[in-house]
């Protein structure tokens, strides 16, 4: 049933995606390093020095090209990284972006090849969940990036994706195979696809949440802000982005649970049986519900609300990495 050459191609695509994404990660890290205030070719300082030279009287040098170029048009309008970015930073971000696109394409190919190889939806075991989850995280990042400047977020999306892919390849790798009977249902495509998409959005939300908490602490501390964080959106803006991601993810998770219940009734005879995975899906749902409530409660600090959201993400990770493997239940999959 399975085609070995396709399997090998799929694996090669995934390995290539990881290599490319590693470079993308480095490029994004370089980007952040170069936009940090006080960096050698920091744009604003150069620009200031440039202007001083000009005003010093040498008017003929006015048209001399400094290292300043107009920033990407969308950077300014979203209050993203400063409007005067060093060229090196922009180049690094551009490379990161291109490599992210390439890595995502390779990952999509890897998933597609695996699907073609087993003639089924490629969501049958933990290796495939991790692969598809990583793919959706990248696609979500790319999709959102077309609407606002998120180059500063690149590093914080590509890194968890790489970690996930690494774990998938090293720990969860399973040869492509057919499904066990209870998984043979169109609900697999509905329930598990939306579940992996949701986890992808939760991942982006958690990355934003962490950035918000760091930024908030820096802003509260005031003082010298020499890190790249100074060029990221303000804590307030980051908190809003965190909320935006969760507002998308929470209804999706609700749908995941409902679809899972419908499928459970069909496959196992009861729509809710407190299977460990169901328990943890419920826990995740209530924790994120608590986050949304905490954020709407006057007198509750936004920081604390975001901490609840991060606790929710810890539950998401436990639900995948621990519950699937160590807890006995009906969500135990063939060969992981």
């Amino acid at each position: 049933m399975t085609d070995t050459s396709l399997a090998q191609l799929s694996n090669q695509a995934v390995y290539s995606a990881m290599a490319v994404l590693t470079l993308a990660m480095l490029a994004y890290a370089l980007y952040l390093a170069r936009i940090a205030p006080g960096h050698a070719d920091d744009a604003s300082q150069e620009a200031v020095r440039e202007r001083r030279l000009v005003t010093a009287g040498n008017a003929t040098d006015a048209d001399q090209d400094g290292p300043v170029e107009p920033a990407a048009p969308d950077a300014a309008q979203t209050g993203g990284p400063g409007d005067a970015e060093p060229r090196g930073a922009r180049q690094a971000a551009g490379v990161g972006w291109a490599l992210t696109l390439l890595g995502t394409a390779l990952l999509v190919a890897g998933v597609g090849l695996r699907a073609a190889e087993v003639h089924r939806w490629p969501l049958g075991n933990m290796y495939e969940f991790a692969l598809v989850g990583a793919m959706f995280t990248l696609l979500g990042f790319i999709g959102w990036s077309t609407r606002r400047d998120l180059r500063w977020l690149g590093l914080f999306v590509v890194t968890p994706v790489l970690l996930t892919l690494g774990a998938a390849v090293v720990v969860w790798y399973t040869d492509a195979s057919e499904l066990m009977p209870s998984l043979k249902s169109y609900w697999l495509a509905i329930h598990v696809t939306v579940a992996t998409m949701t986890v992808a959005v939760f991942t982006i939300g958690a990355a934003l949440g962490v950035l918000y908490l760091v930024q908030d602490r820096l802003e509260a501390g005031g003082g010298a802000r020499r890190s790249f964080m100074a060029r990221l959106p303000s804590a307030r803006a980051l908190e809003r982005l965190t909320y935006a991601a969760h507002v998308v993810a929470f209804p999706m998770w609700t749908f995941t649970v409902i679809a899972g219940a419908i499928w459970a009734r069909q496959a196992w005879g009861s729509y809710w049986n407190w299977d460990p995975k169901e328990v943890w899906s419920f826990v995740i749902w209530t924790v994120y519900a608590a986050y949304l409530h905490a954020r709407a409660t006057t007198g509750w600090k936004r920081q604390n609300a975001v901490w609840i959201a991060l606790a929710g993400f810890v539950c998401v990770i436990l639900n995948f990495a621990v519950v699937n493997v160590y807890f006995v239940g009906q969500h135990s999959y063939s060969g992981l």
């Binding site: 399973t174 409902i258 419908i262 009861s270 407190w274 409530h293 060969g335 992981l336």
Partner: protein, 535 residues
């Protein structure tokens, strides 16, 4: 939930903090009604709801870490045996039935009471708001979060009319309380959706409770060729809800004609070889009126009978075993189900020959579809299909049912039985049979024959009258949730006044959003440019 409830909290008759300098300051007294009201306000406050939500998530976790009796009674019993100290204590605290435990119920019931206490007054307020006009414009619009002012062409009335049209086209409900202002509001669906979400959660809870009270489930093991009649006595286990009359079941029958099972034989990847690939039961359903119908039951494709849905949840082997007495008279002949214990269907079971004379006979042991017997693991199967089927039994004689106590059909109660001795009178008699084999029991006790193998289907028949209510409520909740998160509640106020030169008007627009709303500023700007755009 709205933030207004916390505003309400500030007016609660809470005991005033009388500490500090004036220790003699008398505190306001709360009568019993006052205390009740205070408790109610506390319970229905947002903080309490938040706390209960977090508590509920924590309380649910033990149900995944400890085995649950309602899901896996055997594993629960094993856990209790393995932990003689902690086990009974945890058991008393309900850790093996978390979701039926009083403390879990207390949390979610309090949460729902809190929810009702929050949603009911909000529904009343929302109902009035939906039918009333947007409130009067505040005197000083520049104090609102979003505000802009602009001088435009046209006299004030005409400009105001253009703004009214602009607001209408942006789907605002617009009202003019006087001659120079406009009050506009939109996004009522946000609160509607929020209320629907919370009310629908009550529907989910009612649906679950309804299904628990009026639903039932029963399990039956049915070998191929045999017929199951839907009566209480035919079920191996039957668990009715408290309000179910178990004698009132539809008298249909199900005959299992075939059971096709497929296992992985090619793929040798991790955990794949021998993994199940397909189960398909072909059955004949005969309803109460005697109409026969051929139906299929598969995993993910249950059979709806109208009174209970039949799920194929398990399968295994039922070796056909015949026991004869010394004269050759058949005293036992049946397809006897053996329960699979592992993925390769190493199965355990027992044969109870109550009619044997002078002592009753019992056989206990293993059925192995692909049998291997080694010293280390004893008899076990290495593949789930019948490649080399073997029956490994030990024999006992004595009393099968001491004191008539109920016992499992898959195990032998050997309290009042003695094992038959081995060949040379030593040890225990071990019988190994392949299909067709007959073994003569020692000392003229007759013989046992392994005639062949049938498969059995583990069927579970269930009803849940609450499931549609639960599903519809859950979907309503999802819809409401999306509305409450996506729709923005916005109020826009407009005031016009004549500008210095005639024929020109100063327009002042203020915007007020329910929560922090990034787009409010743009919204006000867009409204403000409308009179210019239509000029």
């Amino acid at each position: 939930m709205s933030t207004t409830r916390d505003d309400a909290l500030s007016t609660q008759p809470a005991p005033v903090d009388g500490g500090g300098a004036g220790g003699s300051v008398s505190q306001p007294r709360l009568g019993p009604v006052g205390w009740l009201r205070y408790a109610w306000r506390q319970l229905t406050s947002m903080r309490t709801a938040l706390f209960l939500l977090l508590l509920l998530s924590v309380a649910a976790i033990p149900g995944s870490t400890f085995p649950q009796r309602s899901i896996d009674a055997a594993r629960t019993a094993q856990w209790l045996t393995d932990h003689p100290t902690a086990g009974p204590i945890l058991d008393r605290l309900g850790f093996f039935e978390v979701y039926a435990s009083p403390w879990f119920a207390a949390i979610y019931l309090l949460l729902f009471v809190s929810l009702i206490g929050c949603v009911a007054p909000r529904s009343r307020i929302h109902w009035h708001q939906m039918r009333s006009r947007p409130p009067r414009a505040p005197r000083r619009l520049e104090r609102l979060a979003a505000h802009r002012e602009l001088e435009v062409e046209g006299d004030p009335d005409a400009v105001r009319e253009r703004l009214r049209q602009a607001l209408r086209s942006r789907r605002y409900r617009v009202h003019a309380h006087d001659g120079v202002t406009l009050s506009a509001e939109k996004g009522y669906l946000k609160e509607s959706g929020n209320l629907v979400f919370h009310l629908a959660l009550i529907g989910v809870l009612v649906g679950v409770a309804w299904g628990h009270l009026l639903g039932w489930k029963g399990d039956v093991i049915l070998p191929v060729g045999q017929t199951f009649a839907n009566t209480l006595s035919r079920y191996d286990t039957f668990s009715p809800g408290p309000w179910v009359d178990p004698t009132d079941l539809d008298p249909y029958t199900i005959r299992l004609d075939r059971l096709d099972v497929e296992f992985e034989t090619e793929d040798t990847g991790r955990g794949q070889f021998g993994a199940p690939r397909d189960f398909l039961a072909s059955a004949t359903l005969t309803d109460a009126e005697g109409r026969e119908e051929e139906r299929e039951i598969a995993v993910n494709r249950p059979l709806e009978t109208g009174n209970g849905t039949v799920f194929l949840l398990g399968n295994g082997y039922a070796p056909r075993i015949t026991v004869r007495d010394a004269d050759g008279t058949v005293i036992y002949s049946d397809a006897t189900p053996f329960l699979p214990e592992d993925n390769n269907y190493t199965s355990v079971g027992a044969v109870k020959v109550a009619g044997a004379q002078p002592d009753q006979l019992g056989f206990a042991g293993f059925f192995l579809p692909t049998g291997v017997i080694d010293d280390e693991r004893g008899p076990h199967s290495v593949f789930p299909d019948t490649l080399d089927p073997q029956l490994a039994l030990t024999a006992f004689q004595g009393t099968l049912f001491p004191a008539g106590a109920p016992q499992s059909v898959y195990t032998l109660d050997t309290a009042e039985m003695t094992p038959l001795p081995g060949k040379d009178g030593e040890g225990q008699l071990r019988i190994l049979l392949r299909p067709g084999d007959t073994f003569d029991l020692p000392e003229g006790r007759g013989s046992i024959t392994f005639d062949g193998i049938e498969r059995f289907a583990g069927l579970s028949i269930r009803t849940d009258p609450g499931k549609m209510l639960t599903l519809v409520s859950a979907l309503l909740a999802l819809g409401g949730l999306v509305l409450s998160l996506v729709v923005r509640r916005r109020r826009v106020f407009v005031r016009v006044r004549p500008a210095g030169e005639p024929g020109r008007t100063v327009v002042s627009v203020g915007g007020l959003a329910k929560d922090d709303d990034e787009g409010m500023d743009d919204e006000v700007a867009a409204v403000l440019t409308a009179p210019e755009g239509t000029r």
